[in-house]
Symmetry: C2
């Protein structure tokens, strides 16, 4: 982890040095696993991974597993490999998403799609996914493989649902939540469940925290696409809309304003997308979605405050949850 | 399995009704697993799966597992799920390959790429892969997850190696074999290893049989692209060459004939590809490759003849191996 984001640094500070040590080991493991992918494409995939990201999912796994006071060696090894595998599954989906979105840049570096083409990038995503399952099959209890496979299945299903819903302004809130649970929250949930498998928290309790945080994360991400400052987010507003992805703010705004419900999404261009974003904000839909996201985070915070173990873990998890609210990019 | 190919029917005949029953159950399991993929894309993926193929990999798993005389119920369940999962991994790679090759048809039906576009097809492949791992994690011993993940990793690595080698006429025989082991033989090997996990044959012995058969299968497939009758194979000769894929017959021919080594592959068109196929045949390279494929099949047959258990299993496996030699499409 070359540069630790402020939120993560705060979490490390609250949880104590054992967590930072574990996070560094997980980072090294991720690099080792990616290095098994052969050839120049493997090196490029390694570059994408090395470019960072906040490693939120491994962090959640480590936090749910407890405060690091001397677990048995084999449990520690399995925990670290599991946490690395969760991040690999996440990166695999990013590499595939970049193919589908024809994205030239990710985390400030060129995507595998841009440097090596769609074929190599599809192969690289498959290789990352397989490396995750291989590591887990070799070093972790069967529960971890079950949790990770369930999440990978949900991720693919969520992505397919989103593509099937393209350009549909009439999606319900329930359908949006179902998509978001698949596309995003399932992997947050898996990270927390994997932590629980290695620690003293019930798996379903941990999974619920991860799911709430994941849904909130995606809702706030969708709000950033509508309201975010392009100078901070690094991308134009309304990118989702141009892509045909109808997120909850737009769906709610369309229910409120007939003029928004009548928009012809496929014909949208960049200025029209920005104007539509303004209309969505004016409808009050963003406040409604923000309220839903905060309610999810409150539910997670409430569950976190009831967790057993050292106060430092509860404090660190609460900081991680707060970090999701405060994100601006 | 709506229409049983002649080779498979012969194998069923030799092995007895228990094998055919198991194969039908595996087929039903494959359908059930694919049906978990949501939405219209899931239905289309199910159509591709239902369109058949010879189900060679599940067949090898079932044959290596033994002759079916009353294994414990939980072993039987795990074997059938494992065999189905191997086929799902295979189909997942086909669906992704169709995206990369922009292939309109597969097994006579429209590909997911053709009907639903590259995004949905990439997602469908990911969903099939995840469904395989999920089924195995839920119902099979950890050895099966390990074997399947290793194979999935090899498949992706082999695909990446092949893309990295595109248009290179100077690849060595060793490099070609390494690619083929990854791209094709690893999954044949996995199928046989999975059978062994559920039966009385050593895993490495079974794996070696699968690897030899897989390499032979791919070599003969590559020969079909050079020598096959388009009226039988359903595709023009030289498709691999047009795609930049340098297979062993071409690599050997280039070593023998300076005029072939000097060919500018990227500028090849369909008539030029057919003419190059004729030159490869004239060089004698195809006979050399056929000899290597037959040597692999001989090695597999020799290992098969030493297997324990009922003679019917050895006979059925020998027929399956022979089927690989006799294929014309």
């Amino acid at each position: 982890m070359t540069a630790v984001p402020p939120t993560v640094a705060a979490v490390f500070g609250a949880a104590g040095p054992a967590l930072a040590d574990r996070a560094r080991t997980v980072d090294a493991l991720i690099t080792t696993l990616v290095d098994t992918i052969p050839g120049p494409t493997g090196s490029r995939a390694a570059g994408v991974v090395a470019a960072g990201g906040k490693r939120l999912r491994p962090l959640l796994a480590l936090l749910l597993a407890g405060d690091g006071d001397a677990p048995a060696d084999h449990v520690e090894g399995s925990l670290l490999v599991s946490a690395a595998a969760v991040e690999l599954v996440h990166v695999a989906t990013l590499v595939h998403d970049d193919v589908l979105d024809r994205a030239p840049l990710r985390r400030g570096v060129q995507t595998v799609w841009a440097t090596d083409g769609p074929a190599a990038a599809t192969g690289a995503g498959d290789a990352l996914l397989a490396a995750a399952f291989q590591a887990v099959a070799a070093d972790c209890p069967a529960d971890v493989a079950r949790i990770l496979a369930t999440a990978a299945s949900s991720l693919a299903a969520g992505e397919l649902m989103q593509r099937a819903d393209a350009y549909r302004l009439d999606i319900t809130t329930e359908r949006y939540e179902e998509r978001v649970i698949g596309k995003t929250a399932a992997l947050f949930e898996a990270a927390c469940r994997i932590g629980a498998v290695h620690g003293d928290v019930g798996e379903d309790l941990a999974g619920g925290i991860g799911r709430d945080l994941g849904v909130a994360f995606q809702m706030l991400d969708d709000l950033l696409d509508i309201e975010g400052d392009p100078a901070v987010t690094g991308k134009a507003r309304g990118t989702d809309l141009l892509d045909g992805t109808v997120t909850l703010p737009l769906a709610i705004a369309a229910r409120r304003e007939p003029s928004i419900a009548a928009v012809d999404l496929p014909s949208l261009d960049i200025p029209a997308a920005a104007a539509l974003c303004d209309q969505i904000v004016a409808s009050g839909a963003c406040e409604e979605v923000r309220g839903m996201a905060y309610a999810r985070i409150d539910a997670a915070q409430s569950a976190i405050s009831g967790l057993p173990g050292a106060p430092s873990r509860r404090e660190a998890l609460a900081l991680a949850a707060r970090g999701l609210v405060d994100r601006t990019s």
